[in-house]
């Protein structure tokens, strides 16, 4: 009986607690990592949409072929819609946490859209405009770098609390295991003394 008590106290109970706590920590860890990867991919996808929108925009504002112009116009509008919905989701993610990033993104987005579908965009007769093309590329580059910088800052912010969380979890696990082993040891000692 004493041997069984000792076995449960020193190996099985701490092992069970360790397994449960490790499972909980791993599940949280996995969820956190999946969410972080998803947000990074979303940010990268939005940056890619901006690049595609710029490529379509440059083709549109440099186009001399009237027949191709309408096709390029449709492409620009579709990419513009993708960029807007991507940026709205990223702004929603920042809202409440870092309002200054929301304002910055809104201003850069407005500048970019102004260049992408502004100026002579949509006119029946379009003359290729090199200056407008340059303006579009410049503004897109500012928006893309702001998105990359924002994601870097977000990753920097989430990494430290996440690691601290894990360290606290491991500390709790250690205390619980030591506590159980100590408690069972005391019980076994008292039983022997009797």
């Amino acid at each position: 009986m004493l041997a069984l008590n000792s076995l449960v106290g020193s190996i099985i109970a701490p092992g069970f607690v360790a397994a449960v706590v490790a499972f909980i920590l791993n599940t949280r860890d996995e969820r956190h990592r999946t969410l972080r990867d998803y947000k990074t991919k979303f940010s990268d996808d939005t940056r890619e949409d901006i690049r595609l929108a710029v490529a379509a925009g440059v083709a549109y504002f440099s186009c001399k072929d009237a027949a191709k112009l309408r096709e390029l116009e449709a492409q620009v509008l579709l990419y513009e819609s993708d960029v807007r919905s991507g940026l709205a989701a990223i702004r929603g993610e920042c809202a409440g946490k870092t309002p200054e990033n929301v304002l910055e993104l809104k201003a850069l987005e407005a500048d970019f859209l102004d260049a992408l579908t502004g100026g002579p965009f949509g006119s029946a007769t379009l003359v290729p405009d090199l200056n407008h093309t340059r303006k579009l590329v410049g503004r897109a580059s500012l928006l893309r770098s702001a998105l990359a910088e924002l994601r870097r800052r977000q990753l920097g912010r989430t990494t430290f609390p996440y690691q601290l969380n894990r360290a606290i979890g491991l500390l709790i696990l250690l205390v619980v295991i030591v506590g159980i082993a100590f408690g069972v040891g005391l019980y076994a000692g008292a039983t022997i003394a009797r």
């Binding site: 509008l77 807007r84 919905s85 709205a88 407005a110 859209l113 992408l116 965009f121 949509g122 029946a124």
Partner: protein, 118 residues
């Protein structure tokens, strides 16, 4: 005892009352151009000191050339003054991806106002 003056705002939905796919500046650019929206839809509502709330919900997008022609054009054609934007003319949307067009509208009007002063 003061008396409260209740201002009635006309509700205007671009998607419902004009088109869900607006685009272009001038009437020759397409059937749903900025100039048409400004002159045929917005102007009558603003005449005689009228107030209007423009709802952006439901549009596929508002190409900047269209939007500039509406708000920049309103200042250029003296249909409204810069101080009317935000007071007599208000913009509203419940769609986060259309929110960006609200500050753009004010900016277009302001840009024209600034260039007029110079």
């Amino acid at each position: 005892v003061g008396s409260a003056v209740v201002t009635r705002f006309a509700e205007l939905s671009i998607a419902r009352d004009f088109s869900p796919f607006p685009g272009g500046r001038q009437p020759e650019d397409g059937p749903f151009s900025g100039a048409r929206f400004r002159d045929e839809v917005l102007r009558p509502l603003l005449s005689n000191g009228g107030h209007v709330v423009i709802n952006l919900d439901g549009v596929a997008g508002l190409p900047s050339s269209f939007w500039e022609e509406v708000f920049g054009g309103m200042i250029r054609k003296q249909i409204a003054k810069i101080e009317d934007i935000g007071t007599r003319i208000r913009l509203r949307t419940s769609e986060p991806e259309l929110e960006v067009y609200i500050p753009m509208a004010y900016r277009y009007a302001k840009d024209v106002e600034c260039s007029n002063r110079i």
